[in-house]
Amino acid sequence: MSLTSTTHPGASAEAIQHHYDAGRQFYALWLDPGMTYSSALWYEAEEDLETAQRNKHDWHLDRAGIGGVTRLLDVGCGWGRLMQRALERKPDCHCTGLTLSRDQADFVATLGDPRIDARLESWADHMPDQPYNGIVSIGAFEHFARLEQTVDDKIAGYRRFFGFCHRNLSADGRMSLQTITYENADRCNFSQFFAEHIFPESDLPHLAEIAQAVKGLFEIVELRNDRHHYAATLRHWQRQLKQRKDEAIALIGEARYREYEKYLALMIVAFHTGTMNLSRLALRRLPGSTPLSVER
């Protein structure tokens, strides 16, 4: 198990822990009971946040082919809710979750489910002894590049990730990805506040960069751009955090509470106005390239 990777191109474990190790007790105040810290998916506007988070997990599990999956990898597993949902739907499945947050890894370990293996490890260091037949990654891809990289290096880093997925997926394996993307903005518009206080050492992808990075490895089967779903999710979180303000301040102090308040509000604006989008992609592993004709 390693915290620092020589090949992982994105944010360091220290940077990830800066954000996610504010503590489970703090996040429990304002996330849904399943502690899912990424955009939900609404089919009906009146659905509550917990239902919309389950919709999101089911959407990704369906795209990863959960019915036939026996070994599932969750890259950026958070506090483990997706893996728990996978096991509700497919009890004989084995789930491996990767996270760089010690708090998240510790929490998933306390679930005590022998079918779940939570590892404090980057995908770049993960070497499974058998292939997976389903991979899901939600809200981790945002941390796979850094602002100071050139665009070519950034895409090469993404491609290393998809190469890792390709190598470790069975021939008929499927993958589902969810990430925030730049929409009507570019990396030069990335807020200094986000870069310094919220997501240090991280950069977002453009959809076109993802399409470039999967070339020859995966085909994009389905794509949803759901920025309004993220704005709705953030509004739920913001309302809840405000209601639990005193408890939140007792846990993390007033200054950090203000940072989170501002971060949620800025994210709502970004998704509402289309500066950022929330992309969900279903990907199918491609076989090795086969020439259409052979020169004689």
Binding site: A231, R239, L264, A265, L266, I268, V269, H272
Partner: protein
Amino acid sequence: MSNTSVLEHDTAPGEEERIVQWLREYIGKVLEVPIDRIDADASFQHLGLDSSAAVGMTGDLGDWLGREIDAAAAYDYPTIQALARALSAS
């Protein structure tokens, strides 16, 4: 004056003006400029508010009015007058 604005004004007499006044004082303080130089019909962006200041303003205005205001309200209604009118009508 259109029929719509007459209706809105009738719904909350005086509130639109109170919100306009609050916003002008708030922005004057944030930007350190005299209130009489703040044009209620200029966009927040033109006045010099960045996105952090805009969401801070919306949050503080919500606290002052004692109700929830959407974080993106200053983007849907991008001037003092437009925001005040929308809030007093809702």
